[in-house]
């Protein structure tokens, strides 16, 4: 198959987003930037999952006027990964929200968002 295809581009974008996200997590000292990094990380994964779900020239996995029950099998995208993505997105939201709550508390403690200030525990 050609690399220049819908799902392939999406997948590579997804991976690039993951790498960008990790880069942000590893190098930026700002706590909010780290959370943003995670958010990008999640988005990247979601793109990858959806691109895996894609079947060539398919439509949404919904049986309606456009797709009849009969030829649905040959026409629709894989619904399973899509269902997984739904879960993944919601989980991402939960994690992000909780992380932000942590960031808020950390900030209130030391009045800084620099992750290097929160190293009281070590060794």
């Amino acid at each position: 198959m050609s690399y220049f295809s819908l799902e392939y581009i999406a997948m590579i974008t997804g991976f690039l987003l993951i790498v960008l996200g990790i880069w942000a997590i590893l190098t930026y000292k700002n706590l909010l930037k780290i959370v943003i990094g995670f958010s990008l990380f999640d988005t990247g994964i979601n793109i990858i999952i959806v691109s895996i779900a894609y079947v060539k020239n398919s439509t949404a996995p919904i049986i309606d006027s456009a797709v009849s029950l009969k030829d649905a099998v040959n026409k629709i995208a894989d619904p399973v990964p899509q269902a997984l993505v739904l879960t993944s997105i919601v989980i991402g939201l939960g994690v992000t929200a909780l992380m932000l709550a942590y960031v808020l508390k950390l900030y209130q403690d030391k009045k800084t968002l620099d992750i290097e200030s929160f190293t009281d525990l070590k060794w």
Partner: protein, 1043 residues
Amino acid sequence: MISPIHIISISLGVAFAIGFLGKNSNKLSAVIMLLTIGILTFISAQWAQAFYFGNQETVQIFTAGYKPPFSINLQIGVSESIIILLINSIGLLGGIYLFDTLVKTGKNAVVVYLIFIMSLNQVVLTQDIFNLFVFLEIQSIATAGLIVLERNRNSISSGFKYMIATGIISSLLLIGIVFGYYFTGSLNIADFIQANMMLSKGGAVALFLILASLLLELKPFPANGWALDVYESIKPGTSAMLSAASASAVLFALYKVLPAGNPQTFEIVLGFGLITFVGSNLLGIKQTNPQRLLGYSSVGQIGLIVAILGMKPFLGEKFTFIAIAIFISHFLAKAGLFWLSGIIKADNIRDWANLRKKPFLLVLFGTFVFTLIGFPPFPSFFGKWELIMQLSQSGYWYLVGVILLGSFFEGIYLFKWLGYAIKLDNVNLPEFNINWKKIIPVAIVGVLTYLAGYYSSFFTTGTEHFEKFFVPLFFIAILYFLDFLPNFVKNIIAIAGMSYYGYILLPGLYETDLLRFIFGAIFIVGGVLTLIAGFTYKGQRKGFHPAALMMFAGLGGIIQASNMIEFFFSWEMMTLGSYILIIRGKKSMPHGLSYMLFSLAGAYLILAAFGFTFSQNGISLEALKGLAFAPNLIYGLLAVGFMTKTASLGLHIWLPGAHAEAESDVSPMVSAILLKAGVFGLIILFLSMGAEAAGQNSILYLLGWLGAITALVGNTAASFQEDAKKLLAYSSIGQLGYILFAFSIMTHLGWLAGFTYSINHFLFKAVLFLAIGAVVLRLKTHNMYEMGGLIKRMPFAFIAVLIGIITLSGVPPLSGFAGKWLFYNAVIEKGWYFQGTIVFFAGTIAFLYSFRLIHSIFLGQLKDNHRTVKDISIWFIIPIYTLIIGIMIFSARPDLILKPIGNFLMPYFPTDALSWTDTMAKTRLGYWDGTWVMIIIGIMFSLIFAWLFILSRKATKVEQFNIAYSGERPERPETTHMAHNIYAGFNKAVGFIVTPNISKFWASASENLDGAAGYFRRIYNGNGQTYALHIIIYTLAMYLMIF
């Protein structure tokens, strides 16, 4: 039975419904939560029972009315039911423990806790990989919530680190899962396993990501800084749940997914598990914060269990038992320890000294520590035993070494900690409150460890006759519960118990096995006699009797052991009991530690050797004979292992302190009696090696030299001691050197000499230690130069010591000479002239310290503050003089004992035996008649005495200071008591022998270990980003290693 799916529906229903409760219903909601977890426990218990007793088949539970892979399914089988039962019960106990905290934080927290437990159940039960991911996420979010039950700067920052780490890990897991779906077309774990994902590189990477992230969830070293911070900063109740409950669920998840890989995958998991086990325990050495220390230990233990999962392919049918036994030990002990740390509330392990105020908790603490290390009778003992056996059998000998090394590291810090708790002198002992809600879970877990240990014994090979060990243990347990009684009563019970034990054990042995009879007699008769001395102590003397009896039970067990596990079990029991005995003494904390560490290392060497033997010849002690493969390695390991107990040179540094600082009646126990356990072990070893091996075996040759040098160094060091008990302790080192040498000779005469020495050493060392101990008890000092002239105040003690040292130095006519004479003959016969000369040199040096001992204490000038001191207690006199009668009998009629021993040795060493004509013994070289010597000397002595008496019966007794002192009266007794540094000249000449190079060596070894731990733990710099980087690097490293 209730379907396990209702574990989820019930807990979620309750969790959601708690929202209906009003604002001020925190307590009510917490109670409901506990009830719910109680129901979960009930459900899981029901299943576990059905599986265990009812032959229940593994059950699949389908959701949504479809079969997998179309819908998510749950599976409950034996392992699942056990794990969820564990999780739910620890969840229940943990809920009780955290009750107050949860109530205070509010019903939201209650809900979070409930969901946390629920998610762990589901992680265990689910058979769908994505579902696993979802519930793992729930678990980590719930954990992130539980972390902030403790709300301070550290816990919040560690919670954030936790979220970063688990965020990355779970993302990797998700990537792995979706690609797994792409390559296999299913999300069902069973399908994953069926479809060979390793076929394509992509599939392999997907599987790798799944396994790697599950592994990362288990906090592998060194990508685990985040977890350590969490363990340290959060509420101990929560740490307990993380370490015990969470880890068990994730471990099980890993276990479920692992078969999807190939054998190489197992090896990788094994390798990384072991790295974690060793690395984490190494770094733990440097820790002082109890919770962080537990974190390190937790990580290490989980690493071990991960490694065991990786060993599944070659552990065979014992795998389940090994994994569960070791896991359950970690599970119970770690929960208990974390909970204890929540009760103590100390930031430094040194402050655990205040545990002493509640002996009950101290015992629980000890229980958990011993459980973690793998001492009997706890499940980890049996688990570790089987693990080593099976590993050896599969040929993975080096893994045995690695595992034992890691365990040893763990022992270092745990025993340091235990030592602090038992003995550290700490003036500042803060009070702590006892809250029954916190005590009850700890106590229950403590009891469970014993039950689990008892139960584990049924699954181990070779434990068919363990009732003979469990009965004494049961007796000891009863004695422990009678600890509130006065010492007098407990001592009577203990002596009665010991006597009965001896009564049923010894007569039978005399008929069947003389070797065991002799040592059995030393152990048990010696035990009873030394126990008699215990009557001196007033009050309750808490904790003494159970420990002493445990040691003797262990010693008795060694005698009775017919296979290796029985032997090792007893060996460890003995170590445990003696450790507690030793650490009871004043200032004995560091010595107790070094004793324990040497014992532990020795025990591990023995364990390894047993494992290697088992792999060739089976479990019986007879298996040590005729090893086909690597016999020298095995014999060498065993020899070194046993020599840690006999304190041979290089392994002796624990002994002086431990024996000297122990209590007065404990010193003879550990010196005269306990050391013989090592001797007995060596005998068993040498017998297994066989006499015919003696000629060519270089191990024996080395041991001979080692024994000789030990004797020399031990005796020389003893002559330079100022501390009476230390002197005796070093003397023991020297004497044990003789014994080692004698047995290494491996001839009839050599062994006779060895037996004679062993019996003699038991007799005179018990006499000496008892007498000196009793004197010390009166004078409250160990320093000989502070004593002097006590012959006038303590004639009984003096006579005892006199007879003791005559026996010790081998002067005729007492029995010590028998050993020397046999020795000369044996040495010349064997041809070990130079070693022999060294031993004889050591023997003459014994005169130096013998004289010093008796002179400095009993002769010379009586000190002013001792003018009214009484003779030693009657309770010491009784055993001492009983033993002296023994010495006298042995001296007058050595043939009574030596003849049977000779007969016993005939099958092993048929040549060059002693020939007896009446009481005269004859060898190829010489002859000796102990009875006649005794008679001749006795008569001559009496005649000369009579003559002198006739001539000078009117001698006037003069005052103490009436000496030829240039007509002056000495000012103070101290100035005329020549006792301090008495052998200065000798020291100047040969003192180089005793330069403490060995102590220095061990000190620097431990410093280096400490330094390494301190250096390497700097990778945990506290920065969440660094931890994230560790995870990335760790994954990458694993990846590079695999692909």
